[in-house]
């Protein structure tokens, strides 16, 4: 039964006309993400039940207001004479799709799976001529009795998950109070030349080599059907996991306590390796981080700041979560400002012709803890009851996305979205170690009936 019915698709524009003739070049970190796109869903249960369509109209007005501060979002992609992407701020607008779901939000959340959830986020692949292709898509789906789903999809060329979340927060601020609390900043990435640093240290090669290893690789496709499930780990459980992972085999504690991201990624790393049938070591994993804070950029920096690094799985046992967590911690700590600037310099000199598939060849573990989606409040005090992130397309060995769970700021509660082949996903879901921490299954997958 088609629960979500499409009403219409239109273009929304900003309220203030953009001054013509402005261009915004994309950075190297933007360019390498060309093959990817993001799809995010925010679910709300609003207190006031309105007539159908009234809420959508109100949101349409506020998004137009908000877009006046984001000329890049309503611009279009063109290539410079040197073949680099840039945005022409031509005031063309973004596409908005309106839909209606004939169930209540609770019913939907109980029965949702990957396919159904992606129906709440409209997306169109890049046209042959990207100049007429909208880079951002928004879908508003109204549920019965006051439920609302806001879907945002965008090309990864322009925005990483933190940036896309910031866009929705800006929209929410505009709807609630009429102005954006933390306005965006549009500037290039910091460069060594600007800061007058002369590097007199050895460039860090591991991260650069990781990027090099995906250059030139062919188009990534997935031959098995991928599915996604979502688990929520409560604060107490994560604390217990941290204690467990922090304990060394000889009974002492590790010097530095692992963070929730490190332990959860280690947990899933080991579990997924087991599910893939690898014994004696772990598969290589690529960890991604938002480096805004490390690069001393403000939170409103618009663009890609996500950097990937490889954690090698040799020498690690699939049963030793603590060692895995330590390995991840080491790699994460190496992703400091200097190293990232080295990477940026390398990428700028490299002049990549064909953008690589950053997410197509390794298991990806993305740290989305900076994203802060729950402060996007559209009405009253209703913060999102659930948020889902999808890093598309789902090709490659698998993905694990880790972000905060709703309700509680300095909490250790986390939501983990795992995308794997169906068979492997089943194994991971039934993994005893994971089940020890009693996660709530927020979204499952419907098994194919053979």
């Amino acid at each position: 039964m088609a629960e979500v019915s499409f009403i219409c698709k239109r273009t929304v524009i900003s309220t203030r006309p953009v001054q013509p003739g402005k261009f915004f070049p994309l950075s190297v970190l933007d360019h390498i993400m060309e093959h990817n796109h993001l799809r995010i869903v925010f679910y709300y249960q609003l207190p006031v039940v309105r007539k159908i369509g009234e809420l959508t109209m109100k949101l349409r007005e506020s998004i137009s207001e908000m877009l006046s501060s984001f000329p890049i979002v309503v611009g279009r992609l063109i290539k410079s004479p040197e073949g680099r992407w840039m945005i022409k701020c031509n005031d063309a607008g973004l596409r908005m799709v309106e839909a209606r779901a004939r169930v209540t939000l609770d019913e939907w959340l109980r029965n949702v799976d990957r396919e159904k959830e992606l129906k709440l986020v409209h997306w169109e692949e890049m046209f042959h001529k990207p100049y007429f292709w909208s880079t951002f898509y928004v879908q508003i789906t109204e549920f019965e009795t006051g439920g609302l789903a806001i879907g945002l999809s965008c090309t990864h060329l322009l925005s990483d998950p933190k940036c896309a979340t910031m866009l929705i927060k800006a929209w929410a601020d505009t709807t609630l109070g009429g102005k954006i609390i933390s306005p965006p900043s549009f500037r290039p990435l910091p460069s060594r030349k600007q800061e007058g640093d002369t590097p007199n240290h050895q460039p860090y090669f591991q991260m650069i080599n990781h990027y090099k290893s995906v250059f030139g690789k062919p188009y990534a496709v997935s031959d098995i059907k991928q599915t996604t499930f979502t688990l929520e780990f409560k604060h107490e459980m994560v604390k217990r996991l941290i204690e467990m992972a922090g304990a060394l085999p000889n009974g002492h504690k590790q010097e530095l306590t692992p963070t929730p991201f490190e332990v959860l990624s280690a947990l899933f790393w080991t579990s997924i390796s087991k599910a893939k049938g690898i014994k004696g070591s772990l598969i290589d994993m690529s960890v991604s981080l938002d480096t805004r804070r490390k690069l001393h950029l403000d939170e409103g920096f618009f663009g890609n700041c996500t950097v990937y690094n490889m954690v090698k799985g040799d020498g690690l046992n699939e049963n030793e979560v603590s060692k895995a967590a330590a390995a991840i911690k080491e790699v994460v700590s190496e992703m400091n400002k200097d190293r990232v600037m080295d990477l940026i310099e390398f990428l700028e000199q490299e002049n990549i012709e064909n953008p690589p598939w950053m997410t197509g060849y390794h298991l990806i573990c993305a740290n989305l803890e900076n994203a802060d989606p729950y402060s996007a409040i559209f009405e009253g005090n209703s913060s999102p009851v659930r948020v889902s992130y999808y890093l598309e397309p789902a090709v490659g060995p698998g993905q694990v996305l880790i972000y905060p769970s709703p309700g509680g700021d300095a909490d250790f509660g986390r939501v983990v979205m795992v995308t794997l082949g169906e068979h492997e996903a089943e194994n991971v879901l039934n993994d005893a170690l994971i089940q020890q921490f009693s996660p709530t299954l927020l979204m499952s997958f419907s098994k194919e009936l053979s």
């Binding site: 219409c8 698709k9 273009t11 006309p17 953009v18 007005e61 005031d91 063309a92 607008g93 007429f132």
Partner: protein, 496 residues
């Protein structure tokens, strides 16, 4: 250098000669009357009071003669006052201002065009060239149904647009003038391309609960000049019905008329027509003469439909694929020029000062009798009018009229800026232009305004208004929040 100086001094001298001639001819009656009155006064003073009383006694006024003469005078005066047409006052008017999120920037319009006409790149390029040279700005608005991909022009959305556009204008008008629905005696609505049943005027009667004996009229199919046709109709009705108010609504509903085909001649209206409407309150009540903004002086209508080419130059038809659109022929400008000439031939004698009319007469006689090669004298309408409101049909129309009537850039500023900010809103554009002039603070008491509208048929209609009271700024109207930005320079071609 020396060559220019004599020309300059020659032209200055010519200017003063012209001024002198105009002053003399326009005030000829005064010039003749004053010496006569002076003569009589001197004669009276010369004669002295005794002589005067002797002359009066000698006239031997009979009582009957006296009574008959006074009755005669009173009779003539009564006939004169009774047959004088009632003064028609424009109490106030309002224009609809669409919400800013209905706006359609050029790039959005072109993108939609490309998505809808993806099999006809030539048509898309044509639309782009039109838009670049159109003189429109980035804030013109289209109704919601046209923002959809693909557009969904249903009857329901057309009615929805009509309701938003008309009811907003009427609500504003009622607030401004304080008129109550039960006081409206005549209701005239003109909307050319959307004519549902029940009519738009019935829709207004239903919404505002107007009286059951209201005289309502709905004019459809009469093109962009229908606004002045409605004013003419209102004027005629107000001559017949004493002590009445008339509400005139001029609008064009865009939703059902968005051409979805690819014929080039029919794509032009899509690029130019935008949402808008105006609500005007006319009255013949004497108590409104104090608070009214304008007084209607003349309405002149010219219809060139008897000529086949003029009749077919703006023609609604189906294209080879069966999609309905409005076909604009290539000789539109020529026909418009002819229609204008006809119209000013009629309006000229009514409004031009005697000096211009004499000059025109002399050149006409000269051409007929002496030498047909003499250039026809184009009367200087700038002397008859202080403000011009030329229908913002498109940049070409305004350019053409500016050239033909020899108007300065300031005279056509209202039309150009209306085209830029609101697009071609069809019959209501004249009211947006009036509103611009008022918002700029240029409208003073006694100023005469000439509204010219062209429309399918082919018709050219004019209305002449006289300003009744100086309009103070800041005015409340569609230009309220943006008047300080205007006038803007509109480039010949906007690069898209």
């Amino acid at each position: 250098m020396p060559q220019n100086l004599p020309n300059f001094s020659g032209s200055v001298r010519l200017k003063y000669v012209k001024l002198g001639y105009q002053y003399l001819v326009n005030h000829i009656l005064t010039f003749l009357l004053i010496p006569i009155m002076l003569g009589i006064l001197i004669e009276i003073l010369r004669l002295g009071p005794d002589e005067l009383s002797k002359i009066l006694k000698s006239l031997q006024f009979d009582l009957i003669q006296l009574l008959c003469s006074s009755f005669f005078i009173i009779f003539i005066a009564t006939v004169y006052f009774m047959s004088k047409p009632r003064s028609i006052y424009l109490v106030d008017y309002t224009c609809y201002k669409p919400p800013i999120n209905f706006r359609v920037p050029f790039s959005t319009f072109m993108e939609h065009s490309r998505l809808i006409l993806k099999d006809n790149p030539k048509s898309v390029d044509f639309q782009m060239r039109i838009l670049e040279r159109s003189g429109l700005g980035e804030e013109t608005c289209l109704p919601p149904a046209i923002h959809y991909i693909p557009p969904t022009p249903t009857m329901e959305s057309a009615r929805g647009e009509a309701e938003i556009v008309i009811f907003s204008a009427i609500d504003d008008l009622m607030n401004k003038t304080g008129i109550k629905p039960k006081d409206i005696d005549v209701l005239i609505v003109n909307c050319s391309l959307f004519s549902p049943t029940p009519s738009l005027s019935a829709m207004i009667v239903n919404k505002y609960k107007l009286r059951s004996n209201i005289k309502s009229y709905n004019l459809s199919g009469m093109g962009c000049s229908a606004g002045l046709i409605s004013i003419d109709l209102a004027r005629d009705l107000l001559q017949v019905h004493p002590n009445s108010s008339a509400l005139v609504i001029s609008t064009e509903i865009i939703t059902p008329n968005y051409y979805q085909g690819s014929e080039r001649a029919m794509l032009l209206p899509n690029c130019l027509f935008r949402m808008g409407s105006a609500a005007i309150l006319l009255s013949n009540k004497t108590r409104d003469s104090r608070r009214a903004k304008y007084k209607l002086v003349h309405v002149v209508r010219t219809h060139k439909g008897s000529d086949d080419k003029a009749y077919k130059c703006v023609f609604e038809q189906e294209d080879p694929q069966g999609k309905v659109g409005i076909n604009l022929s290539k000789d539109l400008m020529v026909i418009a020029g002819e229609a204008l000439k006809s119209n000013i031939t009629t309006i000229g004698p009514l409004v031009l000062p005697a000096s211009e009319q004499l000059l025109f007469l002399f050149t006409l006689i000269g051409r007929k009798i002496f030498n047909p090669k003499w250039k026809p004298y184009i009367p200087d309408f700038k002397q008859a009018f202080d403000h011009f409101c030329i229908h913002a049909g498109g940049r070409a129309v305004i350019d053409e009229l500016q050239k033909n009537l020899q108007l300065s850039a300031e005279h056509v500023e209202a039309s150009r800026m209306t085209l830029h900010r609101f697009g071609n809103t069809s019959s209501s554009s004249l009211w947006y232009e009036m509103s611009y002039i008022e918002a700029k603070g240029r409208m003073k008491k006694g100023d005469r305004v000439w509204q010219i509208a062209f429309g399918s048929g082919f018709k050219c209609n004019s209305a002449v208004w006289k300003c009744n009271r100086t309009i103070k700024t800041p005015t409340d109207g569609p230009w309220k929040d943006c008047i300080q930005r205007y006038p803007v320079h509109i480039p010949e071609i906007v690069k898209l």
